[in-house]
Symmetry: C2
Subunit: 261 residues, 2 copies
């Protein structure tokens, strides 16, 4: 089911834009089931397992095998448990983080964990149940950079539809000068915006987030950007140049730039 949705998006994504085409899209998805996700290099597999969640095969409430069917009143396949009746929904996960600035500098972490071990990224991680996006972004910043930050503005909300993730990044500033590498980081340091290690950034979403922020800085005009990161289905899914940011919408914020420090 997960792969079917995934595949529908990759292969017939144009059909997603027009509601009147959705019956056709759903039919296509059923007629041509997806062979599975593209094979990924080992570095995509971290301590959270594969980036694309495997399709559930057993009921997590009673342990019985699941059946794939379209529940009454729905329009797509779900894992259904015939033993206890539970329907197993798989939904995107949210990744929250901060882009921390001080003057012309940005704080980046070099990752000590897979995926993208040794690569640079602003602090970010999976939102947990029980915390707000604000609390999650702050927690991840503490865990990875041992920095306490104040949130200034929403910067980007980027959908990674291929792997079922939404990345929400806030622009932030330090509450104090203190920081150090947390257990998930090899190193944490300031980079001048003119020195960003573009060839050693962790993920395509990292690249696009920084690129959008630099554009705002160059124009002196802060924005909140949302877009969809689309893999071109060719080349490495780790290389940003194989992605487009589609559906980009950028809303100007009527705020002062908060980086006078």
């Amino acid at each position: 089911m997960l792969y079917a949705n995934h595949c529908a998006t990759l292969q017939v994504c144009e059909l997603d834009r027009d509601p009147s085409s959705w019956p056709t899209r759903n039919l296509l998805t059923r007629l041509f089931p997806c062979p599975g996700p593209p094979s990924l290099p080992p570095s995509w597999y971290g301590n959270r397992g594969p980036l694309i969640d495997p399709e559930p095969k057993f009921c997590h409430q009673c342990g019985s095998p699941l059946t794939q069917e379209i529940p009454q009143g729905e329009d797509r396949l779900r894992g259904v448990c015939k033993a206890c009746g539970m329907i197993h929904y798989v939904n995107p996960r949210v990744v929250v983080g901060t882009v921390i600035e001080s003057g012309n500098r940005i704080l980046l972490c070099r990752r000590a964990i897979e995926p993208a071990h040794g690569k640079w990224t602003p602090p970010a991680g999976f939102l947990e149940v029980g915390e707000s996006t604000l609390a999650g972004a702050t927690r991840e910043t503490w865990e990875e950079a041992r920095a306490e930050v104040e949130i200034l503005q929403p910067l980007v909300s980027i959908d990674l539809t291929r792997i079922g993730q939404i990345h929400i990044k806030y622009l932030a500033k330090m509450k104090s000068d203190d920081f150090e590498a947390g257990p998930e980081s090899l190193e944490v340091r300031w980079f001048d915006y003119s020195e960003i290690p573009w060839d050693d950034l962790a993920f395509p979403v990292t690249h696009w987030s920084l690129r959008l922020r630099i554009q705002d800085r160059d124009q002196g005009s802060p924005h909140f950007h949302r877009g969809t990161l689309q893999w071109n289905q060719q080349g490495s899914p780790l290389d940003f140049s194989n992605y487009d940011l589609s559906d980009l919408q950028s809303w100007p914020l009527d705020i002062e730039e908060g980086n006078e420090s």
Copy 2:
């Protein structure tokens, strides 16, 4: 683990704000495991099951019983499968929707499904894997109101930490005059903003989303708002007056109001 996190948030939420208190918070959570979520009225149980996901008991990959333990390098309990090694992460789900305006009117749907059967709400529903927040909001609008809309601006991002949901709503306008009740709606109609059925709105998040939008309209100043909906732990969790919107941050958008139609 889900309930433990949930409980940590409800009972020691002040400790969440200060990173230096997190070891204390985590210790408290382990010493005083949560008795489970508060009992909810039947109307909270819909065709997606209980609003709060039950804690996973079995591995969805191999069907073996899960053990609750703190994986190496992490700081909280997870369901771990000793048979196949899989760690089962439970993360918040994203609900996407649209607040559709035409002049002084807003389009609301009367729900034909639980939870909140018979109550009014803007179109909204769970984001699916493979779609962007934009595509999800558009799809839900079609499914519930058979309306095709153009997204104008982000309106609210409200965290429902108690039940592990993030609600993202976009302000939108109709592409045509056509709409009708979809299968999940009893009725769809325009309401003048002076006639909102406040006592028959579906959810506390509905109430707060409309309230924030009306504030923006009254001030002639569009904003993107984010906040955390906090239940006061007393009274019905369906009654908006038992909630506060905490951590509210509202960023003014430098755009024209798009409702000249």
